[in-house]
């Protein structure tokens, strides 16, 4: 049965059989179905029609599903189902009274969303979240890439020093990093204010200075991933290729543009998307460093806002609605990423 479906012409795969909403995501399968993943051995045989098409993988029958069962079970129960619940809760009237069973839950339709969208604070938080995430992503990428290139230009000892320092920042737990950075910038006892001659300037008091402080911490703990990944990517470019290019008289710039940049493209996409996702979801740093969202909520981002709505004021439906908005934004980023992958002809 498996063989039958696999051998079928690609466009028929996942066409009419899939449920609504799926066709878009299965589309990349079309490109991959004709060139099977890891099908290095399948390709040479393809033009020989007298031979039955040899699929590189055993059919396996139920075996792949057996292997997948634990993952699907865990993901279904603890990811898919909660997402469904989140959506459901966002259209219900769900507060402390319903949680304790005092009042029955009632359906509110999109009322939670209209209430949310009518709230000025929501738009302000949304704007702050996007702006803050963008600033974090750009700074992280700039620092990470610059240092990755720097790493390729130095000998072993400075490279090891920078690598170890970065791993240290990377390994630091988020809560720890947050408190340590607060301490560094403490108006009374922190060394930074002394060093910069700022007197007893309080970073967490102002809106922008508080965001800046959190941004510095976020960049500190997330640039190592970018740096190490990009560095690994540069190193993965075979030395012979570079040497050949240099021997052929290519300039440094030309080597960068024609050899390294294409090789690094997919990696840059990966680290950018990962950074967008991570920085858009920053919770702990904001929560700890600005004490739950800053003075009068001036440093709230969507996640913290949702948390405050749900758990501090028991408006679970509103919190869920904010969660759904966050989810949709990140989903849009993901779909953009998938399209990029597809355009690059990446096989899945």
């Amino acid at each position: 049965m498996t063989r039958l479906t696999d051998a079928a012409p690609p466009p028929e795969r996942g066409g009419p059989t899939t449920t609504a909403g799926r066709p878009r995501v299965t589309r990349p399968g079309r490109t991959t179905a004709s060139v099977p993943a890891s099908g290095k051995s399948a390709r040479p045989y393809a033009p020989a029609p007298e031979r039955p098409r040899r699929w590189p993988r055993p059919r396996g029958g139920w075996t792949p599903w057996l292997y997948l069962a634990p993952a699907l079970l865990v993901l279904g129960g603890l990811l898919v189902y909660p997402v469904y619940q989140l959506g459901l809760m966002s259209v219900l009237h769900y507060t402390q009274a319903q949680v304790s069973g005092g009042e029955p839950t009632s359906f509110r339709g999109l009322a939670n969303y209209t209430e949310l969208f009518a709230d000025d604070q929501f738009w302000q938080v949304l704007l702050a979240t996007v702006g803050f995430a963008a600033a974090c992503v750009l700074s992280t990428l700039a620092v990470g890439c610059a240092l990755a290139v720097l790493l390729t230009r130095v000998r072993a000892v400075p490279r090891l020093a920078l690598m170890l320092a970065a791993l240290g920042a990377w390994a630091t737990p988020t809560v720890t990093g947050s408190t340590v950075w607060l301490f560094l910038f403490d108006p009374d006892f922190g060394p930074v204010d002394r060093l910069l001659g700022l007197g007893d300037f309080s970073w967490t008091y102002g809106r922008y200075s508080a965001f800046l402080l959190v941004l510095l911490e976020v960049v500190w703990c997330s640039f190592p991933f970018v740096m190490v990944t990009v560095y690994a990517g540069i190193r993965a470019v075979p030395g012979e290729v570079l040497e050949a290019a240099a021997l052929d008289g290519a300039s440094q710039w030309r080597i960068w543009r024609s050899v390294l940049a294409p090789a690094l493209g997919p990696i840059l996409v990966i680290v950018t998307v990962q950074s967008v996702i991570w920085d858009f979801k920053v919770f702990t740093q904001i929560y700890v460093m600005t004490d739950g969202g800053g003075i009068a909520g001036q440093n709230l981002v969507l996640n913290v806002y949702a948390y405050q709505k749900a758990f501090a004021s028991s408006q679970y439906s509103l919190g869920s609605a904010i969660g759904v908005v966050t989810l949709l934004i990140l989903l849009a980023v993901t779909l953009g990423y998938l399209r990029l992958l597809r355009r690059q002809g990446e096989e899945l």
């Binding site: 990811l79 560094l184 240099a246």
Partner: protein, 283 residues
């Protein structure tokens, strides 16, 4: 040792400048950690000094004593360790099986599944705290470590599968055929041949799941509400951090205790992590 990747002669003054920059950056990046450890060993009067100096003249263990004596800190440490290790082991095994399935078999919905794993990575964990809270309550998992372990397995899985895929794919299929020809069963191939070969990838993915579990603050805060004996390190740390009047010595000592195991883990797997990421991105 390792060949310099961006070749072409780097002229000497430039290289020296680059090396100076690298060392300076390393110092800046490491400074917060240095300050953390330094402050943990400082006597109270030095921490409260408004003219902080980058060294200490009389190291003291007072802060550590205060931290370890209070609030069953050791227990929190063990709890954190139990959570992180369970998550790492469970998600590594589950992800290994799943990654094998999606790379070494062809079956219906394979691509759909892969895309769903990718999409699943983007789901904001934080937004799911609300439904997970009720789910954990319904299953009686509130105030237990299970409430922290189970969701973290789920959240680290998609990324782990996605990352391991590259490693499993890199194992040549001729090896698999040879194994079968030699009479190995599928299970034998899976555990005795494939698993050791993708070990570097497993290490790299483990690092990510370890961090996510060890860092967890939100779930610990939301799901462990009344039984503090089930709390984990981040919450213990915040006992000493009160926004109005933080006990900086205690916070820094607790931070040190919390960070050092991860640092050790990182240094141990450092090589494999870097080569692992290299393997994952090469693809």
């Amino acid at each position: 040792m390792t060949p310099r990747p961006v070749r072409g002669p780097v002229r000497r003054p430039w290289r020296l400048a680059a090396e100076a920059t690298a060392l300076l950056t390393a110092a800046v990046v490491a400074f917060p950690l240095y300050w953390m450890v330094l402050s943990a060993f400082r006597p109270a009067e030095e921490i409260e000094s408004t003219r902080p100096r980058p060294w200490t003249s009389s190291p003291s263990l007072d802060s550590f004593r205060r931290v370890l004596r209070q609030h069953e800190f050791g227990r929190y440490f063990v709890n954190s360790l139990v959570v992180a290790v369970s998550v790492v082991v469970a998600s590594a095994l589950i992800a290994f099986l799943a990654a094998t399935a999606v790379t070494r078999f062809r079956f219906r919905f394979r691509t759909t599944l892969l895309i769903m794993f990718l999409v699943a990575q983007m789901v904001p964990v934080e937004a799911l705290t609300i439904p997970l809270f009720f789910l954990m309550r319904d299953f009686g998992q509130l105030n237990t470590l299970g409430a922290l372990i189970l969701p973290h397995i789920a959240f680290s899985l998609p990324f782990a599968i996605w990352m391991l895929r590259g490693f499993v794919k890199a194992v040549p299929e001729s090896l698999e055929e040879a194994a079968y020809l030699d009479g190995a069963s599928r299970a034998r191939f899976l555990w005795q041949i494939l698993l050791p070969l993708v070990l570097p990838g497993l290490v790299a993915t483990s690092v990510f799941s370890f961090i996510s579990a060890w860092n967890d603050f939100l779930f610990a805060k939301s799901f462990i509400i009344s039984d503090t004996s089930q709390s984990t390190l981040p919450m213990a740390l915040l006992v000493f951090y009160k926004p109005d009047e933080p006990d900086w010595g205690g916070v820094m000592a607790a931070s040190t205790v919390m960070t050092v195991p991860v640092l050790v883990f990182f240094v141990l797997v450092q090589r494999r992590l870097v080569s692992g990421l290299g393997g994952a991105v090469k693809d």
